[in-house]
Symmetry: D2
Subunit: 440 residues, 4 copies
């Protein structure tokens, strides 16, 4: 009962709106890996194994040997940015990777020059780029489609994925123009301000039948119109917000506390970071958007509504502080007040000295490769099995999102097993204890 999946032949274009720290770290890294200079650590598609069958079978193939993924050597990167720097220049400015490494892939990086961006300053007050397109929203969408088509032809690509690595846009809520594809396209024609730039990229990709991934906390694909287009054109979507750093740790630890029915009274999370992301989020208004998204994580995992004695009083606070001395080296400190047997209190402190873009780049790569797989497997619409990578995963209407990273992983792995016709794994394992099974 293996799904029929198109093979990963030919070249895959990964087109990225936003060639900043994450994107350039991704591109430089893939180039370095292809030259044998480094390893794609953190990318499940490249380094991860998957258990198949019973424990006694000892089958743990690499994921890339199990499902048909695009080879890293077959990826061609391109993208758009409001600044005209080529990827080599942009990666130097980002100060994430060492100069030595960048120099070793200088030629490849210099060759990637950003196309002009579809941009609206009211969605990102802090950006001042000049490498931008002119026109109404409908015209911009058409220009983006032309960009994609031209890029594809120019590089002889077989397939394309569009991967948003741009900035967080200003917070806004969906309205009637986002409720159907029809309404959305009318609004496009009317150059309606409520269509955010990121939506233009998503629309352009899906309109051409190409998958779209949203790495920022923007609304973008979380609207009925885009979901409708995704299904109509057999082009899968995944969003939103790459899960890295403190939230990653939180979705690892909180399920562990919940597993043991330990109570949580308070969770204080603070972050210090000095990159552009930190600068933007230093503004209380922008931070509010991020905060809403970050706060929801715990509530979903701990489920206070069904565990009021354990989590009903939880006080959760998240702070982000712009702190230039750290640059891209984001650092988090969490204080967690838990309580156990008879209500006795204990504390956990976690200090994570992390690197923002180093954690995000492999997540971006995995999402691009997996959504390309989904496309070839004939899947469309929301790819909930990719929520493993996302801070605020999109779900079908009426379904609560699953934030527990271990359930997300189980979902991802069982989806892969299902695609390839392997048994799903339940970890029941009673059959290892034969006489038990007879007893049952």
């Amino acid at each position: 009962m293996k799904t029929s999946i198109q093979p990963a032949e030919g070249k895959l274009g990964i087109l990225i709106p936003g060639l900043g720290a994450v994107a350039t770290t991704l591109i430089a890294g893939v180039a370095a890996v292809n030259k044998g200079l480094s390893q794609p650590i953190g990318a499940l598609t490249q380094m991860g194994n998957i258990r198949l069958g019973k424990r006694t079978e000892n089958r743990y193939p690499k994921i890339k040997d199990f499902v048909p993924l695009t080879d890293l050597k077959d990826i061609v990167f391109g993208g758009w940015d409001v600044y005209a720097d080529n990827v080599f220049e942009a990666s130097l400015k980002a100060q994430v990777l060492e100069k030595d490494l960048l120099n070793s892939v200088k030629e490849e990086l210099e060759a990637i020059v950003p196309m002009t961006a579809a941009f609206d300053k009211s969605y990102a007050k802090n950006l001042d780029g000049t490498n931008v397109k002119q026109g109404t929203r409908a015209e911009l969408a058409q220009q983006l489609m032309d960009d994609i088509t031209n890029f594809k032809e120019q590089h002889g690509l077989d397939r394309v994925v569009v991967l948003w690595c741009g900035s967080t846009e200003v917070y806004f809520e969906e309205s009637e123009i986002h409720q159907s594809l029809d309404a959305f396209e009318q609004a496009l024609e009317a150059d309606d301000k409520r269509i955010a730039p990121s939506m233009l990229y998503a629309y352009a990709a899906l309109k051409l039948g190409y998958p779209f991934v949203n790495g920022a906390p923007n609304l973008t694909v979380d609207i009925p119109a885009i979901v409708e287009l995704s299904k109509l054109n057999d082009a899968p979507i995944a969003g939103k917000d790459f899960k890295t750093g403190q939230t990653l740790m939180k979705t690892i630890l909180a399920p562990g506390l919940a597993a043991r029915a330990l109570g949580v009274k308070g969770w204080f999370s603070t972050n210090i970071l000095g990159n552009r992301d930190g600068y933007v989020l230093d503004d209380p208004d922008n931070f509010k958007t991020k905060e809403v998204s970050k706060l929801s994580v715990l509530e979903d995992i701990l489920q206070p509504e069904i565990n009021p004695e354990l989590y009903g009083e939880l006080y959760h606070k998240v702070r982000i502080n712009y702190y230039p001395p750290h640059g891209d080296n984001k650092e988090s400190w969490d204080n967690i007040d838990i309580f156990g047997w008879l209500g006795y209190q204990m504390q956990i402190k976690i200090n994570f000295l992390c690197r923002d873009s180093i954690l995000a780049a492999p997540v971006a790569l995995d999402l691009a490769l997996f959504i390309d797989l989904a496309k070839r497997a004939g899947m469309s619409g929301i790819q909930e099995w990719l929520s493993f990578y996302l801070k605020s995963p999109q779900t079908a209407e009426g379904l609560r999102p699953e934030h527990d990273i271990f359930k997300q992983l189980m979902k991802l792995q069982n989806t892969l097993r299902h695609m390839m016709g392997e048994d799903l794994i339940t970890h029941l394992g009673l059959d290892y204890y034969q006489d038990l099974v007879e007893a049952l």
Copy 2:
């Protein structure tokens, strides 16, 4: 296809060798909960929920409402100790719970006076108790069986569980006398020194057909002779070593790192604690036993043999330091050196201000209640589904133990679902996305 399970009627005796900090915290806590003074936080059997059916069904019953468990009010505690203090006196010395709370259950605790212990000083050099039995090993085993039988009659019990909360015994390896029940019983008659005191308790319990749980890192039930007896007499066993504190955190965090294919270069774990446990483990020889057990955890979860680029160089070090100022408030500090994309390094520091017995007591309770359930469900031999609670879980020969706490939880929950005839959960969930399923 629900399993037929005997109902949890009548009284359950929980008989505990070793009425120290963990045991007295458990007993005082259950008494306080039964009086409505406190809550059994940390006990999955009392506070935990279990999801049944599809996410959209919204079925999350309490575990105690789902499977037939003994009610806390039907538990009768008893036990053995080398010191003659009653449980009230012993709990005061343990300095875990506040005096106010202890006073509120003073009468119940004073009523529990330890029976004389089967003891051999060569297995616990640091203990000097006088409340001990006399006789050969065969005679001691018989005396323990008489103790259990008398206690059962005296208190009108329906069922009994024996739960080891005693000290860590000296390290030794299994030999020919442990290979079969026959050989073991001959050695008993010969008063063979290689039968540890803890084995006498296990033998006595299982011989009478009662389940046995091993909360210490002792060999006890990890030998073929005892497994054989367990199956023969339909008396389930579970071991070994309650999983709390730093190891609990490790089996939460390590799966999270592995899930994301993040490399681990070093993991340094230090502990400070000032209770009797810490005093014993301050001796390098005793610590060695504990160390072996603690070190194995990471290797199993990270599987360096199939992920050599990520975990092949892992340097793992565990230290335990006797530090009287902290008493029972065990504290751990971990430094974890990880690496991500292109090998860039990051660090995680975890400082856990925990309380040893507060974390162990609900684990002991759950194990006792679940193994009683297993007995009533006709299960015998090793209960691998209880490895969720154990630092060094026993498995069938040839199976590697599973240390990932999330897989352990999945196993526990799916075992309960299986017992009650509910669908196992795989988190595949593709059916929420109808058109996907059609596409597959």
Copy 3:
């Protein structure tokens, strides 16, 4: 050349505006100490020693045996508050000390009932008390003087000190009415809003010739008018803001880094606390006042103007977060980015699990006792030697404040030595190495 100092005979009244967490912890503590139930840890006046003479003399008397201080048994507490709770009730609400301890001094605490407060809601928007005086500012000042005089007579006191433990007032800057005693008294008569309530207490105390201590970051005595009055009436003053918690740690650590000429690139300080103080400071406007004061500390110690290569780029950020789960247990976390030899970077992380009022109470006690000593020694005006206890020490015009706690301590100790006619200590000590001295 010993100073002539009046003996500490008779009773000393300590009158406190603001009977909240700090004041009640102080009062209950002194009562407990006087009953022999506890010890005044943290109070230099009670527990501290002072070295006299050369190291080889081995003279380290207790400070209280060296200088003539009021005995704790001779202290009579009183005060004002906008709430009518007696000190026992108020200390229960503060949740700092254990009930057991409070019950043991219940009688003493219940006897202290706050006098009605001089209050102006526009200076403390969050307070809603009803236990307040009526009248113009001039009338209020007179009522306060009457309160003090009556209290003194009623309790047969020999001396009085007024010690501000009230809230942080709204930020404002000094104006012309604060420039001279004359202008100040005219403004009083005119009921000028620019006279803060705390100034009324200071004015009343000093007018009567009694010392005044300011434990909050309010302007209060930092104005020429009050300094003038202090000198005129031989009534010493000390302010402002009790130095505890994170700032205490900062003024310990920063001098150490400076001593070694280690560079500091960044210092990020965050605090979580859940008491009323935290609630008030959660408001960005109130926090701004506190922030200004907290930030100045590092600059004074590190002196970037004379060490630009080491401290010229220092990025210093202080955050206070209201976090109810912690109550009075204020906790701070600091990340300090330092650099050494050739600019190589290192980091220091400090996590201080402290207790706000436990640290403040002995500071308040010492200040009251030392300022009483100063009064008896004929000192008036600003007592810079008490800056050891203060976050934002007041200095003579034109002098920069000294924040280095070790220089402050040296100043305090040498002042005491000077008062008592002992040699000042320079730690030169060359005379221990006779031939050196000959060589020089």
Copy 4:
């Protein structure tokens, strides 16, 4: 009354036994600074200021502009090692400094080739070098004197300092041969094993009238024979053990706690490091030597004998763990249990991510330059004013060492002021408050 000090004219040779991580980091750093590539951060002699006169004078010259120190450009480095690697090779192996930096001073470093070492394997079991001298102890001492004299002539030096940066030797106690110069020289002739290799270097230097500094915790100069020789030949000595890392932090923090009369119940210090130093100290026997030295620090600062209520119960534990993933990046974690008002407990946790050699190199430089100053100022014997830099400072017989880094700094600075005829500083400062002074 300014001391007469010889000017720092001509070249100063710094001859170093032990060209390992610390020495090569020092030498490479001075070369880089002389080329204008970097700054000598952490070296008080280069970066530090000193306050002169009254605060209002605002005189804060650089120390190097205040006292006549050798200019960095006038230093010539040389040394001995049991390995024949030149300093460039040795610094690459040490893995402290980046390759780029080392390459920029490659020529200078390659030019420094170690002379053969005086070595005795029984004093350092872990070392296996072959670049060693042959002969009896008397012969070795003579060879070392020849080495120094030849080096001086060859490089046209004006002055020489010998600076021990070698390994920790095996622990041993002084005996009768160390009690006088006479006995020592007889033992030399007898090739007595009780003369450690480090003593040969000290003897050779002092015999020629050159100062000697001991950066390791070895006995070396802490014996009457060497002190006698130091005075006889007007050659100052300083020892022992460079103060860096955790002990540095401890001597900063502990005086702060003592200043405030805060009690300390426990202090747990753990270290992880992966360089050769860590490897040696992983051996319990070698660690014992280090432990003794490290433990004494707190006791001296806190003085439990005169503060039994505060420090009488202090439990102090120090651990060093070999942890290869960290290399030279030594990291410490401290847990400090303190108590305040009425005995209420608080905790401080300090995590110092430091770099061993980066902290040690400027300390070594300062000691060399200051001891050369002392020599030129005619000082001989123990230089207690340099204890600021030393973990276990040598003192005159009968004097307890001073570990409080702030008193050590005061001593150092007042010594410099004294040398230059400036007023000593007492921080009394009463004269800023004119009327106070009149009152006194």
